[in-house]
Amino acid sequence: VDLTGRLRKWALERPRVLVTGATGTDSLRWAAESELDRRGWVLAQSPCDADVLLILGSTIPQLSAAVDLVWGQIPQPRCRVEVIDESDLAGQLDMAVRALVLSADRPESVAPQTAHQGMGESADVSMGHGGHSAGGHEQLETTSGATDGGADRSGHQAAGHLNHMGAEPEHEDMDPSPHGGTGGAVHEAPGHASHEHMGRAAEGGSDHATHEPMGHAHHGRGTPEGSDGAELAAVDGSGHAEGSGHEAMSHAAHGGEHTGHHMHHGGKVAGLDMAGTGPDRDGLQLDLLGVSLGPVLPGWPTGLVLQARLQGDVVTEADLSWVDASERMVHPPAAADSRRMALDHLAIFLWVAGWPRAARDARRARVGLGSTDPAERALAAGRAAKVARRVRHSRSLAWTVRGTGQLAGGDVLDRIRRWCALAAGEAAETLPFTPLEELASAVTGAELGTVRLIVASVDLGRTAPRHDVELAHA
C-alpha cells in the first residue's frame, strides 16, 4: 500500500456527518448519534461541512427530494448511507468510510475541473440532461460537483429521475456503488448526479431557491403549501437564498407553479431575481429576501419548513409548515422515555446554541438511560442531573437567551429550564406542544439565530411516524 493511500485512509477515518431522518426515527437517531460520539465523528453544521450523509429510516418522497438536494451540496469525496434499523449501524458506518476512501481514490471524482460543459445556460438543462459535469466551473458552479461523467457511466438521466422521484425507492437505479448489508445501502459519490444544479440552471424559474426542488415536489406529490410559497417567492425573489441546505427546504413550496409558468420581474443576476424592498421596523426601505429553512437542516426538526422574509437577518414574516402533512400528530412519549426525550431536546438546543460540550454530555446521558444495565442507568442518571444543573445554572446562557421567544409557557430560558428539570428526573410537568401558528408568530421579528434557538426550545409534538397521513395525501 502506498503512503498516499494510507494517509488518505487515515484522514478519512473520522468524517463529518450530516444526519437526517424522517419523523418517528428518534430511537434510531439516538443510536446513530451515540455511535458517532463513540467514534469521535463530528456532526456537520452544513452540507458543505459534511463528508457522510446519514439517512435514517425510509424517507418519504417529499423529504427525499430535499435530501437529494443536500446530497448535491456535499463536497467530494462523500458518501451516502441509508440505515433502516440500528442492528447494523456500526457496519454501515464502517462501510461508509470505505466508500469515502474509494471515492477519494478515484481521481476523476475528485478532480472536477475538467472540460467546461456549458451547464446551466438554458432551462433545457434541468430536464433530460443528466450527464453533464456540474462540479467544475467557477462561473456557474452550483453544486458540489457531481462529476458523474455522464449518463453513460451512471445510467442516470435527470429527467427520468425527476419524474419518478415520488414513487421509487432511493436511487437504486443509478449507483454502481457497493450496496450495504441488511440495514440499507451505501451510496458512493461517483455516478450519482447531483440534482441541485438542475433547478438552478433553470433560468426561467421565478426564484431559483424555491424552484429547484419543486420539480421533485410537483412530480412527487404536490403539497398543500404550494401556492403560498410560490407567491412569497415571486414577490421577493430570493437571490441569496441558496445556501447550505436551505434551498432544500423550499421544496414544499411551489407544488403547483413550476411547469411553464414562470414569473419574470425585476432585474436578474445569474438567473436569480433581485431582492425587492420594503419598510423595515425603523421605517427605512430595506431589501426583503425570501428565504426558507428546512426540511433538512442540522439541529432543526426534520420535515419542518420555515418560509420567511428577511430584512438583514431579521424575520419580518414567517410561515411554518410540515413538509409531509398538513396537520401534526400528537404522540406523547411513554413516561419512561420522558427523561430521554428531555435530554434529546436539550442536546439539540445546546448544539444549536453553540455549546458542544454540554450537548455531548446530554447525548451521553441519553444513551445511558436507555441501557438495560441498572448500573449503567444509574451512572447516566447522575450524568443527566449534572448536565441539567450546569445548563440551568449557566449565567451566560441565561443572559444570552432570556426574553426571547415568548410563548404561553414563558420564554426560551423557561422552557430550557423545564427541559433541565425533566432531564434531571425531577417531577416536572412536560411542556405543552406548541402549534406551528403560535411558533410562527413568536419567531416573527426575531433575528435568524434567535429563530433557531426558539424552534429548538419548543416541543412540536411530532414523534409519530407519518406513513398513514402520507397515504391519505397520496
Partner: protein, 313 residues
C-alpha cells in the same frame, strides 16, 4: 537599529520561523480545544492534523454566482493576517521586525481581518454566509475599541509602542498586576476577532456555520487555520504584553514565553468552552457599554500610576 530576527537570521529564515511558529500555535489551540471538547487526551493533538489532511483531499465547492475573486482572497487573507500579526510578537527574544509602532501593527492586522472575514461571508452569495459576515462586522467594530484601549494602556505604561521596550519595561513587575482589566479585555477581544468560543456567532451552528457555511476543502482549511493561528497569536501577544514575555527564573527566556503562551491558551479554551455562543447583539452591547468605559478607566489608572512615578521607580 533594533535587533530583529529578520536582521539576525536573514529575512527568509525569519519569515519561515514566524510562519512555523504561527502554525504550531494554531495547532496547539486546535489540539487543546479538541481535548476539551472530545476528552481524548493527548490523542486530541492528532485530530487537527487529520482534519487538515481530510480538508486537503476535499473538493472545493462553489455556489451560484459567487464573487469568486473576493471570496478566495478573503479565505487566503485570514491565515496570512494571523501570521502577520505575529511579526511583532517576540519569538526567541526577537520580533520579526521592529518599528516604533509595533502595537499599531498588531491592531492594524486585526482591522484588516474585518475585511477578510467579511469577504468570506460576502463571496458565496448565500444568506447564511452573509449573515455571518454581518455578525463579524458588528463584532469587530464593537471589540476594536476595547482592544485598542488595552493596547494603548500597555504603551502608556511602557512609554513606547515597541514590543522589545514593552517586554523590557516589565522586568520588575508584570503589567498584568496593574492592568488586569486590559489583560482580560485583550484576550477576550482576541477571541472575538478569531470568532471563537463564546464569540463564535459569525460561524455559529445557528446559521449553519455562518461565514464558513459554504466553504469546503482548502478554503475551509484556510479559514480554520487562520482563526486558530490568530487565537494563538493573541495568546503569545498577551504573554508578551502583560505576563512579562520571556522573563522568569532558571529557564531561558523563549521557554518562559512559550510556557506562558500555553498557559493563556489553555485558560482561554477552558473558560471559553464552559459557555454557549453568546448572541451577537448581547456581546456587542457589552463591548460598547461595559468594556469601552472599563478600558478607559484602566488607562486612566495606569496614567495616574505613571505620573506618580510607579513604573519608573
Amino acid at each position: 537599529m533594533p535587533d530583529t530576527s529578520a536582521a539576525a537570521w536573514g529575512l527568509v529564515p525569519a519569515v519561515l520561523l514566524v510562519t512555523g511558529f504561527g502554525l504550531v500555535l494554531g495547532w496547539l489551540v486546535a489540539g487543546v480545544d479538541h481535548a476539551l471538547l472530545a476528552g481524548e487526551g493527548l490523542r486530541s493533538f492528532v485530530e487537527p492534523i487529520r482534519s487538515g489532511v481530510r480538508l486537503l483531499l476535499e473538493q472545493r465547492r462553489s455556489t451560484l454566482a459567487p464573487d469568486s475573486l473576493l471570496w478566495r482572497l478573503g479565505c487566503a487573507a485570514v491565515p496570512v493576517l494571523g501570521v502577520l500579526s505575529l511579526a511583532v510578537v517576540p519569538i526567541g527574544g526577537r520580533t520579526l521586525w521592529s518599528t516604533s509602532a509595533d502595537l499599531v501593527w498588531f491592531n492594524a492586522m486585526e482591522a484588516m481581518l474585518w475585511a477578510a472575514v467579511w469577504l468570506v461571508g460576502w463571496g458565496p452569495n448565500a444568506f447564511h454566509a452573509l449573515t455571518g459576515g454581518y455578525r463579524f462586522l458588528a463584532q469587530g467594530l464593537a471589540y476594536e475599541l476595547p482592544l485598542m484601549f488595552s493596547l494603548i494602556t500597555v504603551g502608556v505604561a511602557a512609554g513606547s509602542l515597541r514590543m522589545t521596550d514593552i517586554v523590557a519595561a516589565q522586568s520588575d513587575l508584570w503589567f498584568v498586576v496593574t492592568m488586569p482589566v486590559a489583560f482580560v479585555v485583550f484576550v477576550g477581544s482576541g477571541a472575538a476577532f478569531a470568532f471563537w468560543g463564546p464569540f463564535a456567532a459569525p460561524a455559529g451552528p445557528d446559521i449553519a456555520g455562518g461565514v464558513g457555511s459554504e466553504l469546503s476543502g482548502v478554503d475551509r482549511l484556510l479559514l480554520d487555520v487562520g482563526r486558530a493561528v490568530f487565537l494563538g497569536a493573541t495568546a503569545a501577544m498577551a504573554a508578551a504584553l502583560f505576563l512579562g514575555g520571556g522573563s522568569g527564573p532558571v529557564l531561558p527566556g523563549p521557554v518562559w514565553h512559550v510556557l506562558k503562551t500555553v498557559a493563556v491558551v489553555v485558560t482561554l479554551v477552558a473558560v471559553g468552552r464552559r459557555m454557549p455562543v453568546l448572541r451577537p447583539d448581547r456581546t456587542v452591547e457589552v463591548a460598547w457599554m461595559v468594556l469601552v468605559p472599563a478600558t478607559l478607566l484602566q488607562a486612566l489608572v495606569v496614567a495616574i500610576l505613571l505620573i506618580s512615578g510607579f513604573y519608573t521607580s
